[in-house]
Symmetry: C2
Subunit: 283 residues, 2 copies
């Protein structure tokens, strides 16, 4: 009896490569994992303690002068499950160590100051895990599809973003970029459910239907984004998300592996432990 497990390293199995084709990724598939829903949930839960421990080490590192941070960027069509990933994966660690930020339509000030201004302001401080629900990538997605900027303008963003992220990485940020991919059928079901449930109406936006009608244009925009901005410093992972449990498990595993790779050790005491113990007990 073997416990369900990863049969391939998800960081390899899900990473975007120059030969990956978005339409060849089956949104219902569970790459690299040989178990089902119950197994996936259990395995994710099993990671809670290690995730918590590594997050606390990162936090301690930041509190003692270190500069490392993690930035998790989530992209995907409406209802792809970005919020659920934050709630169920990021929600496993101490909220003091997390900065979540969602990016909707920019305000007038944000537009005036350039698209990276609000992004820079939302970056995690040292020791924190930053989570972006949508991000600077909207600038080559909705901006492209809805023709909000001339093509020459948004095309320039690919290189700008790569430079920006290379700078972040050089400064100590481990960047994990995740695109959650769902099928049009699954989206139909999820949008229908939002319309059927009064407690979900607030999540529905008639503009979602517009984006749904532009599916092919979004696929083209995502593909070029992945091709142009999946770099060594900041790779993209394409995570099939029709099965919510798999998407959450996969992002949890990517986050775990990222933290493990940072070799986070507990900061040594910057005081004389024996002396403090003496002072404490009045000896």
């Amino acid at each position: 009896m073997t416990a369900p497990r990863w049969t391939a390293d998800p960081a390899e199995a899900l990473r975007w490569t120059p030969v990956t084709r978005l339409d060849a990724v089956d949104p219902r598939s569970t790459p690299g994992f040989d178990g089902g829903k119950g197994d996936g949930r259990e395995l994710l839960g099993d990671h809670r303690d290690e995730l918590s421990d590594l997050q606390e080490r990162l936090f301690a590192h930041g509190r003692t002068g270190g500069d490392r941070t993690v930035l998790l960027v989530l992209q995907g069509m409406d209802t792809a499950g970005k919020g659920g990933v934050v709630r169920h994966v990021v929600g496993m660690v101490d909220p003091q160590g997390v900065r979540c930020r969602g990016f909707g339509r920019p305000t007038a000030e944000e537009r005036a100051r350039g698209y990276l201004w609000r992004i820079r302001r939302a970056l995690p401080e040292p020791g924190l895990i930053g989570v972006f629900d949508r991000s600077h990538y909207e600038q080559v997605l909705v901006v492209r599809v809805d023709d909000l900027e001339p093509e020459a303008t948004w095309r320039a963003h690919y290189d700008e973003i790569n430079e920006f992220e290379a700078g972040l990485a050089a400064g100590g940020t481990a960047i994990v970029k995740v695109m959650l991919t769902i099928s049009p059928d699954e989206q139909l079901e999820r949008l229908t459910s939002r319309l059927d449930r009064p407690d979900k109406h607030w999540k529905f936006d008639p503009a979602d239907l517009r984006a749904r009608a532009q599916w092919a244009q979004y696929e083209a925009a995502y593909t070029e984004m992945l091709d142009r901005t999946s770099t060594t410093a900041a790779p993209w992972y394409v995570v099939p998300a029709d099965r919510k449990w798999y998407a959450r498990l996969a992002v949890g595993q990517l986050l775990l592996q990222t933290l493990r790779g940072m070799d986070l050790t507990w900061p040594p005491a910057d005081f004389d432990v024996a002396e403090q113990r003496r002072l404490l007990t009045g000896g």
Copy 2:
């Protein structure tokens, strides 16, 4: 067989009143709760779904133009368990709906701009639960005890803070202020444990011993703070915290009752549901 439960409303039992004396609050007591550690943990866990649901309603309210927020202010001596409350209570809800902020020694800029400047910048946006680990109250605690400002200056802060908080409350913020109170013996144990464990050294600060030696002065400062700033708009709760499980249960219960009291309903759709359903299915 009766399940362990609150025998008194904790909001009543723990609320600071003009006749409460801090030295009459036993830090090992569990006011209003007739169960033990296991019961307390179980009851707190039982509140997870309701807390989550109410937090999501608050979030939805904020996303649809509402202005309500919750601000949880945590104060207490070092090792009183402020961080544990955040991790175990606030950590029960979606991290997207939470903004945590710790306040250490102010930077030069923060000092120059006045003590409320950094506080205002850290206030939760509409729909969020803001959590302050220490706060503007340090201005009448460490500042007083360490003589960092003339007495006339820090004394003026009581009224300023009351006005500031009254303004927040009028603007839609439900303020819950919690002072966690521990005994010197319990603190000794917790500080000793931090010194004994290399993975806790980063949490230890030799300055903590200084504050410990000023216990009586801090008690006087806390007492006057409670007397002067426990208002109808922003009451103080004094929570015995020698038993971590009780402190967490009590703060969880206070947070739950605060959210319940906000009468949060799901925002109604601002679109024609039937029409959107038709558009979605292409009918």
